[in-house]
């Protein structure tokens, strides 16, 4: 087995140390985050992550990978071939369980010239697919899983990571853009077949630049439905955004005020869609101040 190497990943506001001797993992991380990784220069880290193969006989029969952070091992070993998804998932877990300095929206967030569109979503809403398609069409990727909000200002902090496309979404994105830079296929993860879309160099380069929320769009994929943007009342938008916030209850008053600040600053819509290209056209038009779909007006 080769010697462990250590690299540093800057991801949004977090600096992460990654130590691993798994060669494919280093290659995959380099594929996704080339412009955000560096060698260890002795910086202060938020999380010090290790991904190692556990010793023992069982590991020889069925190779595994163990995720550890700061010397703790919060999860059972996983199949070695899933090392990269385990890393991504583990890092998300670290953030979700400790980064309560921020409000964490379960949302894809993208930016058009520094103005952000928030796409909250429960699984199956199509938020990842939609974020991916908008990003492939030129919008800056702020985040897919965590919309990080600085509560005092309601600014969105970027956290650009590989967008995990699941099952049929993979083909949908390849159909949308056959040149989409996708990483390796992971046929058997806990969430099914997964392939990640790489964020573009610009999104990684600008990951220290916050964006101002401007649009709040609740997407809903409905097979065969036309693309329709419908204005949403601020009250309902508040309720739904708070519902899609990981640490809304934990943050108490801080969370209430931050959601309120966002909802007052944005135009709120629900958006049903089925065709990715038409959906992207509609949301780009919204961002450019043109309304293609019914329900124009915006302010509710």
């Amino acid at each position: 087995m080769s010697r462990p190497t250590k690299l540093i990943l800057d991801t949004g506001p977090f600096r992460v140390g990654i130590t691993s001797a798994i060669p494919q993992l280093g290659d995959t991380i380099a594929f996704f985050y080339r412009d955000a990784i560096s060698t260890d220069r002795g910086d202060v880290l938020d999380y010090n992550i290790g991904l190692h193969r556990p010793p023992g006989l069982r590991a020889m029969v069925r190779p595994q990978v163990v995720f550890d952070v700061d010397g703790l091992r919060p999860f059972d070993p996983q199949p070695l071939e899933n090392a990269f998804p385990v890393f991504e998932w583990g890092l998300n877990w670290c953030i979700a369980t400790s980064a309560h300095r921020y409000m964490m929206l379960h949302a894809g967030t993208i930016a058009f010239d520094g103005q952000a569109m928030i796409l909250p979503g429960t699984p199956g809403s199509g938020k990842s697919t939609l974020s991916a398609a908008l990003h492939l069409s030129g919008a800056r990727l702020l985040s897919d899983e965590f919309g990080l909000v600085r509560p005092e200002t309601a600014e969105l902090l970027p956290l650009p990571r590989g967008i995990p496309l699941k099952n049929a979404s993979i083909e949908a994105i390849l159909e949308f853009d056959p040149a989409a830079p996708l990483g390796p296929t992971y046929p058997k993860t806990r969430k099914g077949r997964v392939r990640h879309l790489r964020p573009d160099a610009d999104s990684l380069r600008c990951q220290a630049q916050p964006a101002v929320p401007r649009w709040l769009v609740f997407p809903k994929y409905v097979a065969g439905a036309p693309e329709v943007l419908t204005p949403l009342s601020r009250l309902e938008a508040f309720r739904q955004l708070a519902f899609n916030c990981f640490n809304y209850t934990l943050l108490g008053e801080t969370g209430f005020e931050a959601v309120d600040r966002i909802v007052r600053a944005v135009d709120c819509y629900t958006f049903t869609f089925s065709r990715l290209d038409a959906a992207v056209t509609a949301l780009q038009a919204l961002a450019q101040g043109r309304q293609l779909a019914i329900g124009a007006g915006g302010k509710a």
């Binding site: 977090f14 010397g71 703790l72 919060p74 934990l250």
Partner: protein
């Protein structure tokens, strides 16, 4: 000394730190559940500016989480008291939740994961039954042996958990097991109890100042869960300094109370440990008087080694930490169980692999 205890003893030491020190410090701080405490310490020492910004952000995150669990705990306490209010059972809040209801300075930074309560021995099973009727369930699986372990040899009933809210409630009828060599007269604790209901709007009391410290000392040195015990040492120091400030008689009262309750030895260890690890500064007379509870040189050195390795590891999940924890686990039972019982219990625990041999568990933050 680890970086963590160095900081707890003198928060100004961080001015000399470089990234290498911070990267060793943060995991220790997370594991010891002292993130929030560290932020308050640095604030009162005026050294927040010396903490790297990203670590301040991590601490602010921890503080938000601490506040949340504190609010939840007080709410949960109210619900427990409501469930018990027609049973005519007097209830005392202990440890973390007691610091909240008594509005002590610790209430600002002390996190907690369960609600510890004291009721009269005669009431404990009625209280348990009442909670079991009101939405609480037994937390975990307890076979006949475990049930007997708790009911005959321990000072608490098997832990309860609310079925929907998942919060744990531990019902005690004393601060130490009835079979233990340190036997505390619970009636005496109740005689010293202080009403503290106004902050929760319901009737509940807390231990007197001295008894609160003695409980901490007994808990720390008789408990089998020493991991993260540095937080208890800090609680001890914080309580000691709080109660001792402006009360010149406090130390003598504490010692007299310890002797009356038969807790001289745990008090000796608690003060000795807090002095060495987190710079507690007891008065000279206290130190001199306390020496009559000092164990032999051999026992003292061994305990110091064990405590230091268990409570102040220089990195997380170290093997010597695991060993020290295991030995202290054995020792905690040595104190609290008769020999024959202990042997049976340890054999059983070892066979069932439930001893805390590994220190790798739980979540960071």
């Amino acid at each position: 000394m680890s970086l963590l205890t160095e900081f707890l003893a003198d928060p100004a030491c961080i001015r000399a730190w470089r990234p290498k020190e911070w990267n060793r410090f943060l995991p220790l701080l997370r594991e010891a559940r002292l993130m929030t405490r560290a932020l308050f310490l640095a604030e009162s020492a005026g050294t927040v500016d010396a903490i790297p910004a990203r670590i301040v952000d991590q601490m602010i995150g921890a503080r938000a989480q601490t506040r949340y669990v504190q609010i939840q705990a007080v709410r949960e306490l109210r619900l427990v008291l409501q469930a018990l209010q027609h049973e005519n059972i007097r209830v005392m809040a202990l440890k973390g939740v007691a610091y909240q209801v008594a509005a002590l300075p610790l209430a600002k930074w002390r996190g907690l994961s369960d609600i510890d309560l004291l009721v009269d021995r005669a009431d404990v099973e009625r209280a348990e039954a009442s909670l079991l009727r009101s939405g609480w369930v037994v937390n975990g699986e307890f076979d006949d042996y475990d049930q007997r372990y708790y009911r005959e040899w321990m000072h608490e009933v098997p832990p309860l958990r609310h079925a929907a809210r998942e919060t744990e409630v531990d019902l005690h009828h004393n601060l130490s097991p009835p079979v233990s060599r340190i036997r505390i007269d619970a009636a005496e604790l109740w005689r010293g109890a202080v009403a503290a209901g106004e902050n929760v709007g319901m009737e509940v009391s807390v231990l007197s100042d001295c008894d609160m410290l003695l409980h901490n000392a007994v808990h720390l040195f008789m408990n089998d869960e020493l991991r993260g015990g540095l937080r208890d040492v800090m609680d001890f120091r914080d309580l000691y300094m709080h109660f001792g400030t402006g009360d010149e008689q406090f130390e003598q009262r504490l010692l007299a109370r310890a002797e009356a309750l038969g807790c001289g030895l745990p008090l000796y260890y608690a003060i000795d440990t807090a002095r060495r690890l987190v710079a507690l500064k007891p008065g000279e007379k206290m130190v001199a008087d306390l020496s009559r509870h000092r164990p032999s040189v051999f026992t003292r050195s061994l305990m110091r080694w064990l405590i230091e390795h268990a409570l102040a590891p220089t990195q997380t999940a170290l093997r010597t930490t695991a060993l020290a924890n295991w030995l202290l686990f054995v020792r905690s039972h040595w104190i609290r169980m008769p020999k024959a019982l202990l042997l049976r219990h340890l054999v059983r625990k070892t066979l069932k692999r439930r001893a805390p041999i590994s220190t790798i568990q739980e979540t960071p933050g």
